[in-house]
């Protein structure tokens, strides 16, 4: 009997060690670095020539009510996405979205991108549009961190506790946008102290505890990956297409409108090659995009938004918020005697969205 108890104790002990080991390693405190927030941001912005390869996972906590037109974006922001990345330089990298039985790989070269979709057995060539919807490569912590911090000012930055990410003790940086229109309450970035590479980015919106987006490296190697890895040649027998970009979409050119220079205190930014009907306002993490929308498309989207729980409907239009993301269909179709319909989307508050809608209407009439 004694022997029996003793043997079970050995097994139980072994099990306890095995089960608690990951938690214990996780609980080990990460070492911090003596570096100021501003300095850390400088290092992040300078990190776009740091070669690496790694495996990252991005978890979105947003449920977007749009399904048909924007499924890709909606999936990225609501699901868990596994990413494999090889980065040799700003115009030579590859990011694969890995699923259980397939993958979608984006290969960047000097003149554009190849996107390989295993499920469709299709390769599509994309040029580099000035403005595009977010895609999986944008969710990589390195890319997202650099982008979100690029327009932050020093007084919006503070240091937070370090964390261990992909085995690196990474000092942390918090960016709290100062814009009143901002719907993102904070962006936390943990940075590889040696190279300035952002290792984990957490976007927090409003007062919810679940982050709107949490993306981090699980594995990271700073060795320069092989050129053959990032290179892509369409395999024989594959379907070859060319990417549609946002500017190809028929945005209702008949509904020409002059968008104001500022909306809700956010200044308009210029992009070459972007049609007049699309306006991008704001900076940093507080961004508002406005686009004229054909009347029929607007009506369909308006119905869809109005059916979403929590939608606000008034004479300005229909608007909803999904975490820090806000979406609105505003205005009245010219056919119905209005000044045209618009889609407003961005990381701004619903109030800012309403203000912007009113300002567009005033400018048009």
């Amino acid at each position: 009997m004694l022997r029996r108890r003793w043997r079970w104790a050995v097994v139980a002990l072994g099990l306890a060690v095995l089960v608690s080991l990951p938690a214990l390693v996780e609980a080990l405190p990460a070492a911090d670095r003596d570096v100021s927030a501003g300095e850390l941001r400088e290092r992040v912005l300078a990190s776009d020539d740091v070669a690496f390869s790694g495996y990252a996972i991005s978890t979105g906590g947003l449920t977007l009510p749009v399904s048909d037109a924007l499924t890709g974006v909606a999936d990225l922001l609501s699901d868990q996405t596994s990413l494999r990345a090889w980065y040799r330089g700003a115009d030579d990298w590859r990011v694969d979205v890995v699923t259980a039985t397939g993958e979608t790989g984006t290969h960047r070269d000097a003149t554009g991108t190849w996107t390989w979709d295993y499920a469709d057995q299709a390769a599509s060539r994309g040029t580099l549009p000035p403005l595009a919807l977010p895609t999986a490569p944008d969710l990589l912590p390195s890319a997202l961190g650099r982008r979100l911090l690029s327009e932050a000012t020093d007084d919006e930055l503070s240091r937070i506790a370090p964390a261990r990410v992909a085995g690196v003790d990474a000092p942390g940086l918090r960016y709290t946008p100062a814009d009143t229109a901002a719907s993102v309450s904070a962006v936390d970035v943990w940075v590889d102290p040696g190279t300035g590479l952002p290792l984990r980015v957490v976007v927090r919106g409003g007062d919810t505890t679940t982050p709107a987006l949490d993306t981090r490296f699980l594995d990271l190697s700073l060795a320069t990956p092989d050129a053959s890895t990032t290179d892509f040649r369409p395999p024989p027998g594959a379907d070859i297409r060319s990417d549609q970009d946002l500017t190809d979409v028929d945005l209702g050119r008949q509904e020409r409108a002059d968008l104001p220079a500022t909306l809700a205190d956010l200044g308009r930014r210029g992009f070459d090659g972007v049609p007049e009907q699309i306006g991008v306002y704001g900076s940093g993490i507080t961004v508002l995009a406005v686009s004229a929308l054909p009347g029929r498309a607007a009506a369909a989207l308006r119905d869809q938004l109005a059916a979403t729980p929590g939608a606000v409907t008034d004479d300005l239009g229909v608007r909803i918020a999904a975490g820090p993301l806000a979406l609105m269909v505003a205005g009245t179709s010219t056919r119905d005697g209005g000044t045209g319909t618009y889609l407003l989307a961005g990381t701004v508050t619903l109030d800012a969205l309403a203000t912007a809608a009113r300002q567009i209407q005033e400018a048009a009439s």
Binding site: R3, R4, R7, W8, V10, V11, G14, L15, L18, Y55, Q80, R84, D96, V98, T99, A100, T101, G102, E103, G105, W116, Y118, A119, D120, Q121, A123, L218, D219, T229, F232, P234, P235, P236, G237, A238
Partner: protein, 270 residues
Amino acid sequence: MIGVELRKLFRRPRTWITIALLNALPVLVAVLLKVTDLAPRPGEGPAFLSAVLTNGTLYPLAALAIVLPLFLPIAVAVVAGDAVAGEAQGGTLRYLLARPAGRTRLLVAKLVAVIAFVLVTVVIVAAVGYVVGTALFEVQSLGATTGISGTSLTPEQVAGRTLLSIGYITVSMLGVAAFALFFSTLTDSPQLATLGALAVLIGSSLLFTLDAASDIAPYLPTRYWLSFVDFFREPILWRNITRGLGLQAVYVVVLLGAAWANFTTKDVTS
């Protein structure tokens, strides 16, 4: 001792009937695909099945992917669940132990025999898959098979990675085998031990699909089963493969330890 267990296992008609039944499904699928010419869309259905119409040499993998989620683990649970409880039920356990076979030795020999069964089964499924695939479907004679990452794999690469997959799938079954073997030392009824292991299997597969269980997902025995697909990415994605191997090793160590603690101190009254 191990030789004795292997002889017992492979001289048993039931072993070969199980393997034959296991092969029936992939063969049936192949025939249906050939007759109807309706391959599932890539990314749907079992892994690699979409690709076999144009390349029969991938059928061993598709066959493995077909039996992997259910048929193979059931066969493993039946054989491993029978390991000790079957001897107890048949009365031969008391003679083995009085021989004396040594309880720890017997347990290890049983595990080795189960592993051998899995390996033989997986190899046969792959071999039958190859024969059926190359007989029924086109074979790209000039080589290049398109891998998951859109790169071309030479026939040698395909063969090598298929062998790696066979090894990985064999290891993947060890968790189920260890569960069944542990249960087999708890009860004198092989059916009960098999059912217990199947309950674990089904529970694990169910929890894996549940978002609420995502925190424990990395510890589920079935979590990394499909990672054999990662051998066909370019470069090979080792992360989940190594985790899968490690996880199965942990299950084997813990459950074999529990089986040992129970079996070596248990009164054999069957």
